[in-house]
Amino acid sequence: MAQETVSARAAGASSGRVPAIAVTGITKRYPGVVANDDVSLAFHAGEIHVLLGENGAGKSTLIAMLAGMQQPDSGEILLAGRPMRLTSPRVSLDHGIGTVFQHVLLVPSLTVIENLMLGGPWWQRLNKAPALARFAELSGLLGVSIDPDAQIGRLSLGQQQQVEIMRALWRGEQVLILDEPTSMLTPQGVRDLGEVLKRLRDKGVAIVLITHKMQEAYEFGDRISVLRLGRLVGSIEPGRRATMSQHDVTEEVIHLMFGARDKTGGEVDVLLGQHRRRADRNIANQSPRLIVRHLSTVAERGECPIRDVSFELRPGEILGIAGVDGNGQKHLAEVLAGQRPAAEGEIVIGDRNVTVGGVEARRELGLRYITDERLGEGTVGIFSVATNLVLKEIGRPPLWRNGLTLWDKVNQQARDQIRTYDIRTPSERTPIAKLSGGNIQKALLARELTETASIAIFNKPTYGLDLHNIRLARERIRDGAEKGLATIVISTELDELLELSDRIGVMFQGRLAGIVDNAGQAERQIGLLMTGAAQG
């Protein structure tokens, strides 16, 4: 009896139609956190249902359970009204529930069609004919054309994602789940994706779209649900959604996401992708702090090298580097930091040519690199917060004397920095890997942005952080520039660059396709440069 009423509740959520898939009262706990707390949601055929929420709101856990990757601790999943246990990815796929994960899950060394065939009966020969027929069918459904024999590694990220969507629909097209699908795409790629999703919706697919961007939620969503700290805090039904203006939707979502919190804070701006551009400052008459001329690197396996990159950077200026991930940004950051040799060209800091100098030489001239790999390259996970804060001073006075560590001084300094920069850690002796991404980033910034810094290179500084920490990191970058730091921000988030930068350079296939002044028409121009369509 109890089960019936629960089912009825989920089904009754929308005008009597039976949802393609629904969760009722679902709860999932991990050690120390409740990732999903009594969440009930229904997803209907022919509807794009957007799930909005900050990092840690429980969106990814929810879809992991729908995809069969995780099992709920309590509550149940209903498929077309019937309770169903999705015990493995295969069970989900067999029921026509396909998932496109945040990171590409295709085998780069295999072809498109081989990737799609993956998961067939292992005792059989590969029979391409029926697979190609299905491929043609789905190509028509999505309205895309891809060469089925192309190697995945050679396709653009947008195309790879289209293949992922096909894979998700391969064994049935009841439910399509997409986890932050736009984070790796160009603006044009996002528009194309929107077309594909609307097409699929009109053919009767139930689409679940997960995002943390308000703009996408508004553009794509027929129904919008907001998760906060593992709970469903509210939904906008399609009927009501149709009568609301963008302003109303935004207001309501902000209210749901932030509740009684201060709505004028930076977090709302981050959510909305609004950028208060920096005031113009007169920096043109200063002599450049960093000059890069015709810089190239050597290609390595799976990496995009840079080719013939030139630019100048003045004190107090923020140069944004935009571009789809994997277009040479990593090489650019590393070659500037001195971690990677330059094959050609030169790097000048002030009036010193440092092309052949390593990390050490550049550090002494005030260059700081804040890596995107916060754990691993940026910090040593098993070392304490205190040790990580002095990682680059090891062996030098005043914290070291005669080869011995003066732990009292190291810990004292760490405690000061933890207080100054509001690093949330149980103690300065806690291994840094136990901290959240935002706090590791704070520790990194505290270590790198010292008095002696004059050039700072940030690689994806807000990647994976929650709204609060994104705002803090951006403020930190802006403050640094106000104090005269010559700054480079490499990011795949265009909004971030538009907010922070004075000028924005665009990387495309290892070249600096152009540098655009961050003013009125910048966004459009950058979008074109990102796809290689225009030369700046």
């Binding site: 990757m69 899950l105 065939m117 292992w122």
Partner: protein, 311 residues
């Protein structure tokens, strides 16, 4: 130096190269299967040695070479099952476990042999050979290449069968995915752990047969530590072959010749110190590594345990 060019010398050299190369071929093919699936199988030396011991004991008591191969293969699988349990199920470090298993089974086989045979080394009867009609009559090469134990031909056929399998079957697709992007395989509904376990068991089976061949056919007896690095040469072959079985065959032939050279030169009475001659295969390993290792491409997920949800 004339003796080097006599027919009988060449025939025995090539015959010896085949005999020495077959265990390397089986080990190399086996290791290739594991590496394709993303498992660095350092324990293959232990698999060969245990296979050699089990294979010898089986052949010694039953008198059947085929049962010798079968039990050799099963012996290798026992060691492989430990790898599957410790490295794949429990995610322990593949290099540490591999070295531990190799050392462990070196000791275990030596002990078992001592308990059973004390300090004697009983010999098996001469191995039956299968002369291929027609081909075995070719001068010099005929007797060297086409008058071997039937397993030799099967091993060579296996090379081409694997090459076909890797390209044209779901097994090949699954192995490739498990080594390149295990999360993609998992998302496609295929168990990464099962795929890798099966690959490791196949490795154990092939390596075990290779060991049994080494003991029963190559030497005709079992001596502790007799594999003498053959498994490690198999690892080198698999790494250099970049996933292509035919390259393992070529590599095994090359190392087989250099191994056969050590015996042949001594038999021929060439005046080179035996220490130098015995270095030859290992000098060859280093030379080949220096020349080709820069180009070896390994699966990105090689050696990494798979845990769902981690990247």
């Amino acid at each position: 130096m004339d003796v080097l060019l006599t027919q009988s010398f060449l025939t025995s050299l090539i015959f010896g190269a085949v005999t020495a190369g077959i265990p390397l071929l089986l080990a190399g093919l086996g290791e290739q299967i594991s590496e394709k699936a993303g498992v660095l199988n350092i324990g293959i030396e232990g698999m060969m040695l245990f296979g050699a011991y089990c294979g010898f004991v089986a052949a010694y008591y039953t008198g059947s070479f085929w049962l010798g191969y079968l039990f050799g293969g099963l012996g290798g699988m026992v060691v492989a099952a430990l790898v599957a349990l410790l490295c794949i199920r429990l995610g322990l470090n593949q290099i540490v476990i591999g070295i531990a298993l190799t050392i462990g089974f070196e000791g275990l086989t030596a002990l078992l042999h001592y308990v059973q045979f004390s300090r004697t080394y009983p010999r098996l009867s001469p191995v039956p050979t299968l002369a291929i009609p027609g081909l075995s009559d070719i001068p010099v090469l005929g007797q060297a290449l086409f008058n071997h134990n039937a397993l030799v031909y099967l091993a060579v056929l296996l090379t081409f069968f694997l090459a076909w399998l890797f390209r044209n079957s779901f097994i090949g697709l699954n192995l490739e995915s498990a080594g390149n992007k295990p999360a993609a395989l998992d998302a496609a509904g295929v168990s990464v752990l099962a795929t890798r376990s099966a690959a490791v068991l196949a490795t154990g089976f092939l390596a075990g047969i290779g060991g049994a061949y080494m003991a029963n056919v190559g030497a005709g007896l079992f001596v502790p530590f007799m594999t003498n690095g053959a498994g490690f040469i198999g690892i080198v072959l698999a790494m250099l072959a970049r996933g292509r079985p035919v390259w393992v065959l070529l590599g095994a032939a090359l190392f087989g010749i250099s191994l056969a050279m050590t015996t042949a030169l001594q038999v021929a009475g060439i005046n080179i110190p035996t220490d130098v001659v015995q270095m030859l295969p290992f000098a060859m390993v280093m030379l080949v590594l220096v020349i080709f290792a820069r180009h070896s491409v390994l699966p990105p997920a090689l050696g990494l345990p798979y845990v769902r949800g981690e990247r």
